[in-house]
């Protein structure tokens, strides 16, 4: 080679080494962690039942009901998209499993599998339509939201003649499936639902995928700047469609939990839940505009939701306060995120 390259680099002393504390503070979930701490202390002081160990299981379960779906919703939001159909898709999955198994008199596991296929197909359809049309995901999934909501009600009435799917309690495989999706166990005086364990597993896996794998890197990139990601060879379409299918997968799981908790599913269920998932993700530090956020944060967001919902009840207040509280949390989280984004956008 003709020339050797000796680039003299003097050390840039304008940038002070950041302390561990400063680095921790720049994590996306920090705001929500502080918020969760404040809310915990607040209700520990205000509400007697909050302090009893036996209620821990209930609070964590309440969080898990939201938290399982908040995992893919957070990933999707980091990838730069929304899914407004996420709430009703859970109901769709549950209804599909219940109705299919009952109508065809098959083992419930067949219904479970059919529900999985349907849920993944809904996700794939959302993603495909989005990439195909280039419309904002807000519009596309709003469409799917109404379609699914209508189908849930209409098909259920058509098949079962009622507003809920037929009970599948006596059918083959029910007990087995219930053990997987909706069983309960005790640790000491604490009653725990298996959903909580699944939730912890999902958060761990989701967070690992996001931070420690290629795909996770791509999720950040397609949300941060899709054109830039494409230019360096990231398969943007596949990542986004995959994210919508992940929402489908978790909607299936949540739907199965719903189905095997009760043995049937209400067809009007799920409307409005999509916003709760989004709130959990945003409170947990996800930017609405994509490219930034955390799965662990979404879990903290869900925990805040669970604590607040039950805290208000345990404190003996009117449940109306809960929604107001939730709104304030959302606004605070959004403001914190805005400051983060401003700092990062500084050019």
């Amino acid at each position: 080679m003709a020339s050797t390259l000796t680039a003299p680099t003097e050390v840039d002393d304008r940038v002070a080494r950041r302390s561990l504390g400063a680095r921790l503070l720049s994590r996306p979930e920090v705001g929500s962690l502080v918020g969760a701490g404040v809310i915990l202390v607040f209700f520990l002081v205000m509400a007697d039942p909050f302090r009893s160990a036996s209620n821990i299981g209930t609070i964590v379960y309440q969080a898990a009901l939201i938290g399982v779906m908040a995992v893919p919703v957070a990933l999707l939001m980091i990838g730069g998209e929304f899914d407004l159909s996420a709430g009703v898709a859970v109901t769709t999955a549950g209804l599909t499993g219940g109705l299919f198994a009952y109508q065809f008199s098959v083992n419930v596991w067949v219904g479970v599998l059919v529900a999985l296929v349907v849920a993944l197909a809904v996700g794939a359809f959302n993603g495909w339509l989005l990439m195909r049309t280039g419309l904002p995901s807000f519009l596309v999934t709003l469409g799917t939201f109404f379609i699914l909501q209508g189908l849930n009600l209409a098909i259920t009435r058509l098949l079962s003649g009622a507003v809920s799917s037929n009970s599948i309690r006596d059918m083959d495989g029910f007990e087995q499936a219930k053990a997987v999706f909706a069983s309960e166990f005790r640790i000491g005086s604490v009653n725990l639902k298996i959903l909580v364990l699944w939730w912890i597993l999902f958060v761990a896996v989701g967070s690992w995928v996001l931070l420690r794998t290629k795909v996770g890197n791509w999720i950040f990139a397609v949300g941060g700047d899709a054109a830039a990601a494409r230019a360096v060879g990231v398969p943007v379409k596949r990542v986004k469609i995959g994210l919508f299918m992940a929402v489908g997968f978790f909607a299936w799981f949540s739907g199965m939990h719903l189905l095997f908790t009760q043995s049937s599913v209400q067809s009007g269920e799920g409307v409005g839940k999509e916003f709760i998932y989004i709130i959990a993700a945003v409170v947990g530090g996800c930017l609405l505009t994509g490219g930034y956020g955390s799965v662990v944060g979404s879990a903290i967001g869900a925990l805040i939701f669970g604590m607040t919902q039950l805290g208000v009840v345990y404190a003996g207040w009117n449940a109306d306060w809960f929604k107001a509280f939730l709104g304030v949390m959302l606004l605070l989280a959004t403001i914190v995120n805005l400051i983060v984004k401003k700092r990062a956008d500084l050019r």
């Binding site: 940038v15 990139a221 490219g291 990062a344 956008d345 050019r347």
Partner: protein, 285 residues
């Protein structure tokens, strides 16, 4: 992806074989004909400089080679084989790396994640990201370019324009296997960093890569170029080898002198179609 800098390994191939060849390539954005009948050859061990006014079609040209846009006319061949890239991935997989004018960096992602975006290094088990190795390599490559970014975890959006430019260039040089395309890489850089980039370009050429260097600066172009192509309104206005061109001629071309030269050329020529050209371009770009 291997860990060593790629171009060192390609040195064995015989020099001056065309790697990328464009023949009569055109590109229309709807009714805007950004490129018309452009022919260009990128040879191994040569630096092809592409110059031209703003909006001349330089970026459009390289975006076709980089797979970001598909051409609407003509043919593009890589290693003698006709290709039509439908995504940048295909171009990258053919060994073509590009520094885009708009850089293609994700602002909220850290320096090292941006550096390896799309080419992540993984390790067993489960294909985890090998972040320690990626950080080390990113740090080494950036240090070689003469810039120090003390914290590789910093989001790219917080860096200066020049620092971001350096990341994009260092990345392309590291991953460019056969062809390196740089779209105005020195535009945002200081004197020292420009010098380093130019040295890198020469080094890449000497290692046997084909380099396409797009710039507004005829001095930079003349310092390193082997071959010069000037684009004007989407057409090739000049295509010469270094031996047939002086710096002042090139500067003249860039300063608009070619307008006159083209006119006199046309007056001497017989092709009436070319003389009529300025009037029939749509939209008056």
């Amino acid at each position: 992806m291997t860990t060593t800098t790629k171009f060192a390994e390609e040195a064995g191939t015989s020099p001056n074989t065309p790697v990328v060849h464009l023949d009569g390539v055109g590109k229309s954005y709807g009714n805007v004909h950004a490129l018309r009948g452009v022919s260009l050859t990128v040879r191994q061990g040569e630096i092809t400089c592409v110059l031209g006014d703003n909006g001349a079609g330089k970026s459009t040209l390289i975006k076709i080679i980089a797979g970001l846009h598909e051409h609407t006319d003509g043919t593009l061949s890589v290693n003698g084989e006709e290709r039509r890239f439908s995504s940048p991935r295909e171009s990258l997989d053919s060994g073509i790396a590009t520094v885009y004018q708009d850089l293609a960096l994700a602002p909220l992602m850290s320096v090292w994640r941006n550096f390896f975006l799309g080419n992540e290094l993984t390790k067993r088990p489960f294909g985890r990201l090998d972040d320690r190795r990626m950080k080390r390599i990113a740090d080494e490559e950036l240090t070689k370019m003469g810039i120090s970014i003390p914290n590789l975890e910093q989001p790219v959006g917080m860096l200066s324009g020049g620092q971001r430019q350096c990341i994009a260039i260092a990345r392309a040089i590291y991953f460019g296997a056969k062809v390196l395309i740089l779209d105005e890489p020195t535009a945002a850089l200081g004197v020292k960093q420009s010098g380093v980039v130019l040295k890198y370009i020469v080094k890449a050429r000497d290692a046997g890569l084909g380099v396409v260097f797009i710039t507004h600066n005829p001095h930079h172009a003349y310092l390193v170029g082997n071959h010069f192509v000037v684009l004007k309104l989407g057409r090739v206005a000049l295509d010469t080898h270094r031996a047939d061109l002086t710096l002042s001629q090139l500067t003249n071309e860039m300063a608009g002198g070619s307008e006159l030269e083209a006119l006199s050329h046309e007056l001497r020529g017989v092709d009436a179609g070319v003389v009529a050209e300025p009037h029939d371009r749509p939209g008056g770009i």
